[in-house]
Amino acid sequence: VPSALASALAAIVGPSRVLERDSELLTYSSDGLPQYNVRPQLAVFPGTRDEVIAVVRELAARKVPFVPRGAGTGLSGGALADGIVLLGMHRLRRIISIDAANGLAVVEPGVVNANLSRATAPFGLYYAPDPSSQTACTIGGNVAENAGGPHCLKYGVTTNHVVAVTAVLASGEVVTLGNAGGENDGYDLVGAFVGSEGCFGVTLEVTVRLLKLPEAVRTMLADFMSIDSAARAVSAIVAAGIVPAALEMVDQPTVRAVEASIYAAGYPTDAAAVLLIELDGATAGIEYDVARVEQLVRDAGARTVRTATDPVERARLWQGRKKAFGAMGRLAPHLVVQDAVVPRTQLPAVLAEIQRIADETRVVVCNVFHAGDGNLHPNIPYDANDEKEASRVHEAMRRIMAACIAAGGTITGEHGIGVDKLPYMDAIFSPASLDAMCALRSVFDPDRRSNPQKVVPLHACREWFAAPAARP
């Protein structure tokens, strides 16, 4: 027998779009971090903007908390709904308009990231932020997480490409933040909303900026016999004033996993690390920059340097990088995915420290990351059923995060806080700053019903203690 809430929601979206049975909800009990496993109370999947608004208003009338979810590829547990309503947005996948002359597109939140660039390619345009999950993740999720990606080194992250957002607040009010028709003329509410991890409301429509496809692209692969020399090559390129479109590092354990998988990209498996360097721009000057980068990486100790010019070879080189997390599935049944940022000059020291921690805790760290940004992803494959191994892995992760913070870095560059990084928030923000974040959240969602208990630790928000237990 469906609950009263399920019946009310079914009246809006149709009975087949409301899931309430345990077996049906299993799919939605994790996001991209499968070590977290919690069951929603029910899941509802509206198919149109009006249905989303009606659902949110129904939830508002009943004071029911909810969690918006895109494709569920997030890597911080942000889309977990622990005993509350999960609001799936992936059915809203229309590209509403492409205004090529103004370089703008209006999309629904469920549009898959890669599909947008595919749709705009005939106009010579593309959408720059390209998270590794871009063939699955949605623009709505990207907005919630302020998603990054390899090409954000040169072109910036999601927040730099969103012009306006129409959202339904938890109260049911619909509001357009930002100004697609000119300069923003008030507070930067788009800036506040992007990266709010679903805590400020539910995205209905996003206006994004499109960029011209570059005239020329060169992808280079350089391999090194030590991680340190690869890290020094990164510094040398950046210091020379060259801004590559992407500058990625993949270490040996990752290379081996990739090369043994169906995503094999032709990376040398005996190298300590490879760098994937992409340059783009006008044809006129690109070969000159390619030659400069080649010289710089050779001076830093590169063994070989390969340059791909044709799209097929470039795609193959990229495949190894973008599918690396998936390839790690070959190494062990479970994987801890990590995300931290350090100042670029600290890369060699921090990478050495991570290796020291890995040795001491007897774990294998697979580093695959955005080296140009200093955005690390030290991932650890392991067997979660082996309690001793699991506790060593958690010890290693705690120490790695501490090392990144001590180096002047931060606890997440692109995956978000969600629930996974909550324990680290106190380490980088003062109580007053966390309090300000709580206050900002309350501006958008005073009842704190949209994605409750994420991003800011409960104990840090004095006012949160006064929040009513908003469970149905």
Binding site: N102, G182, G409, I417
Partner: protein, 384 residues
């Protein structure tokens, strides 16, 4: 394992001053170098506080590691001071707000003031990495950090960027730096003055396989002041390696004939408006720039000595009326454009309509961060 940064004596003193002001119900006007006092959207002059809190003395570089391409400085540090320090490492901060480099970093961020380089590098919201601020509750808060990529916590940094000190006083800022390009060349080209001519220039920009660092179109009246040539001029700044720049210059030269200019042409462009002038911007999607240009031409015809310029990449036209007391403004179809007033100079502009829910969010923001209205009352207020 905490690296939470200490609150410096300067910030503590500013926080103490704010707390005093809250207790004594003394509204404060927050200033840096004091060059943007006439701005802040529709400022309510009747409520302008008599007490000012200047952050100009709260200055100095806090942290600069050249290899990281980031710098952290206190709010009162001038852009000139930052330029001097970063130039030694062949780097620069690509923020060149209208006015001069005597302006402070804090005010540039607090007012989100952009200049010609925003065409190539984005504005303050794209360049700021983190900041420290004293809220209207007297609390010292930090958002973001010193690294170039950061999604930890809600984005207090962008919230305070462009909030004109109405939510908090920006006391320290971390920003991204760039390497000085190998070649940096400015070209001034004479172009036609009609909307069709402007449309042609805009169309060219879209077909070029490169993005100029800056591209501004100057009315003849403004060009005369900046370059000496009394003709409509496109001022274009290109960069890259030698080959890039040669190819870019060839493309730019297709637009028209070059006109000569001095080395300080950008400095002059940024500071062209006479003291006391009324300055405002109109913006729209970039394909409507010719319409905005036409509107500016009409306004200029009705106002003695008026000057204007356009930024094709951003769809912005900026108008300068040197004699605000005799301003003759009929913005006509301006409701199709977004109006932003930089310096009202006593000119009455139409009240800006605001969506009710946005108005509610803005009110709640002020209630949360500046509940007593101590900081910059009358600024960022939608209706007077």
């Amino acid at each position: 394992m905490t690296t939470m940064l200490d609150v410096g004596a300067g910030t503590a003193a500013i926080a103490a001053r704010v707390c005093d002001a809250i207790d004594t119900r003394t509204p404060l006007r927050v200033v840096g170098a004091g060059t943007w006092l006439g701005g802040g959207l529709v400022a309510d002059s009747a409520r302008t506080p008599t007490e000012t809190l200047s952050v100009r003395e709260h200055a100095g570089i806090v942290d600069y590691v050249a290899g990281d391409f980031t710098i952290t400085a206190r709010a009162g540090t001038t852009l000139a001071e930052i330029a001097a320090v970063t130039a030694r490492e062949n780097q620069w901060l690509t923020l060149d707000p209208m006015g001069s480099d005597a302006g402070t970093l804090g005010a540039t961020i607090a007012t989100a003031s952009a200049g010609p380089l925003a065409t190539g590098f984005g504005g303050p919201r794209d360049i700021v990495l983190g900041l420290e601020a004293v809220t209207g509750r007297g609390a010292v808060i930090r958002g973001g950090g010193r690294v170039v990529k950061n999604v930890a916590g809600f984005d207090l940094t962008r919230l305070l960027t462009g909030a004109w000190g109405t939510l908090g006083i920006v006391t320290e800022v971390s920003v991204r730096l760039r390497a000085r390009p190998e070649c940096d060349e400015t070209i001034a080209i004479t172009i036609g003055a009609s909307p069709a001519d402007v449309a042609h220039v805009c169309a060219s920009l879209q077909t070029w396989p490169f993005a100029p660092m800056a591209m501004e179109l100057l009315s003849a009246s403004l060009a005369q002041r900046v370059t000496g040539a009394a003709t409509t001029v496109a001022l274009i700044r290109i960069s890259g390696n030698e080959r890039d720049v040669r190819a870019q210059a060839a493309a730019v030269d297709m637009l028209g004939l070059r006109v000569p200019f001095d080395a300080d042409v950008w400095t002059r462009y940024r500071s062209a408006e006479p003291t006391g002038a009324c300055v405002f911007r109109l913006s729209a999607p970039r394909t409507r720039l010719p319409n905005l240009w036409e509107m500016a031409t009409r306004i200029a015809a009705a106002n003695d000595g008026a000057m204007y310029s356009a930024t094709p990449a951003r769809g912005v036209v900026r108008c300068i009326l040197p004699q605000p007391d005799r301003a003759n403004l009929s913005l006509g179809s301006a409701n199709e454009a977004t109006l932003i007033v930089e310096q009202a100079a006593g000119v009455a502009f139409p009240a800006r309509p605001v969506d009710a829910t946005i108005g509610q969010l803005e009110r709640r923001l002020r209630d949360a961060f500046n509940p007593t209205g101590t900081l910059n009352p009358g600024v960022m207020v939608r209706t007077s």
